[in-house]
Amino acid sequence: MDWENLKRQFYINFIEEDRWRFLTSGLANTLQITLLAVLLGIVIGVVVAIVRSTYDKTIGETWGMGRFFLRLADLICRVYLTVIRGTPVVVQLMIMYYIIFASSRNGVAVATLAFGVNSGAYVAEIFRAGIMSIDQGQFEAGRSLGLNYVQTMRYVIVPQAFKNVLPSLANEFIVLLKETSVAGYVTVRDLTMGGNTIRSVTYSAFLPLIAVALIYLAMVMFFTWLVGKLERRLRNSER
């Protein structure tokens, strides 16, 4: 591909008929889905992690109805984790769109939900490890002051666990950013779909797909740099 040809290709793929808009609007959808899904994933993940670690920590000393509900909640969480982590995200996405929400044509909303539910399973395990890594003495100190289980979790354990897993959560965001590239399976016009649309119109694959890859790469490098900065700051605050 000589220089003149490249310039012509660039014009056809991006400038002509404002085709670059496929990329920018796709990028907007990709970012929107990723951000909302990661937030949803954190909410689901924190709840699941707290249920699972509460079960691990207290089932031995819980009786009656409390024991029944705790067992049930833990069972539901374990089924959720097994199913979500045991099946491909594309399949989950298509089940959501074509079966569970078959009547909805709002692909972005369904994709957000699907990726959020998917991410929640991974965040749950990240967060559970964070809770379990807090020294048992912290828990005992909270309880010995008279704080109940929930108060000890809320004021003592979870804030420390959250700080410990922040870098992992940020990594989960980066992973999710790339995973949303399959959103096109349910007609979502995300970044990948945008590049592919240009390709199908101009019949040239090289520039649109390389552009898509470069945009993902730039975002991942930027967020990785941000996570590194965050990690250093967290380490410094411990002194």
Binding site: E61, W63, D135, G137, Q138, E140, A141, G142, R143, S144, L145, G146, L147, N148, Q151, Y155, V156, P159, Q160, K163, E238, R239
Partner: protein, 247 residues
């Protein structure tokens, strides 16, 4: 002993591994108001387990503990309410690293005693002054020495205005030069009439401050006497050999 019985322990049992290991094998003791009860014994004797049972950090497998007239081993009892009146100090301090010293001290009073922030902080600052750390309220635990941390842990428990203080080897994790400052605070506390149960290896403290010393071994109380008697004329062979090793 005159004061009323604050904690009455009856036939406390603690069995692990399906009953084959007896950490506690029938321990009974009365702890009276204003008493300083020091518990000594070799490691693995059950003394820490005994202490941790008193506020149910460990749930005994048998026996009863009556605190303020209530059997707290009854599963229907809300143990959180009783723990508010039983301060505890741990070997490894267990300060909350994500909070400043003042936040460490005011968390429980604000959340549980429903004190205002200002009220709780005034009380905390007064206590900090008493242990010579008035200027460290804004610091984080990681900025303090071990001795300072343990003094903070003591006053954090005192902020709840407990009726009894439980000490689980409070000086065992400290560098030798810091043991004195912590024992000094504990002595002051004892002289003010605080009821204390102290598990420790500091025989000097036991002798000087203890109103009663309990010697435990193999999950039972082997000997129990005022310090001058227990240290001066130990009766059992086990206590004699223990004292020979540690003194």
């Amino acid at each position: 002993m005159s004061g009323k019985v604050l904690i009455q322990v009856k036939d406390l049992q603690m069995h692990f591994s399906g009953g084959s290991i007896h950490a506690l094998d029938g321990v009974s003791a009365d702890i009276r108001q204003g008493e300083v009860v020091v518990v000594i014994g070799p490691s693995g004797s059950g003394k820490s387990t005994f202490l941790r049972c008193l506020n149910l950090l460990e749930r005994p497998t048998g026996g009863s503990i009556t605190f303020d007239g209530v059997d707290i081993t009854d599963p229907k009892v809300n143990i959180d309410l009783h723990r508010q009146k039983m301060g505890m100090v741990f070997q490894h301090f267990n300060l909350f690293p994500h909070m400043t010293i003042l936040e460490n001290m005011t968390l429980a009073p604000i959340k549980l005693l429903k004190k205002s922030r200002r009220e709780a902080e005034t009380k905390a600052l007064g206590l900090l002054k008493r242990v010579g750390l008035a200027d460290r309220g804004g610091a984080y635990p990681s900025q303090l020495s071990g001795g300072q941390k343990q003094r903070i842990a003591i006053v954090r428990a005192l902020c709840m205005e407990p009726e009894v203080m439980l000490f689980d080897e409070p000086t065992s994790a400290l560098d030798p030069e810091m043991v004195g400052e912590v024992l000094e605070v504990m002595k002051d506390l004892a002289h003010e009439g605080m009821t204390m149960v102290v598990v420790t290896h500091e025989m000097g403290f036991a002798r000087e401050v203890g109103s009663r010393v309990i010697f435990m071994d193999g999950g039972v109380i082997v000997e129990e006497n005022p310090p001058e008697e227990l240290f001066g004329s130990p009766r059992s062979e086990r206590l004699q050999s223990f004292l020979a090793k540690v003194l």
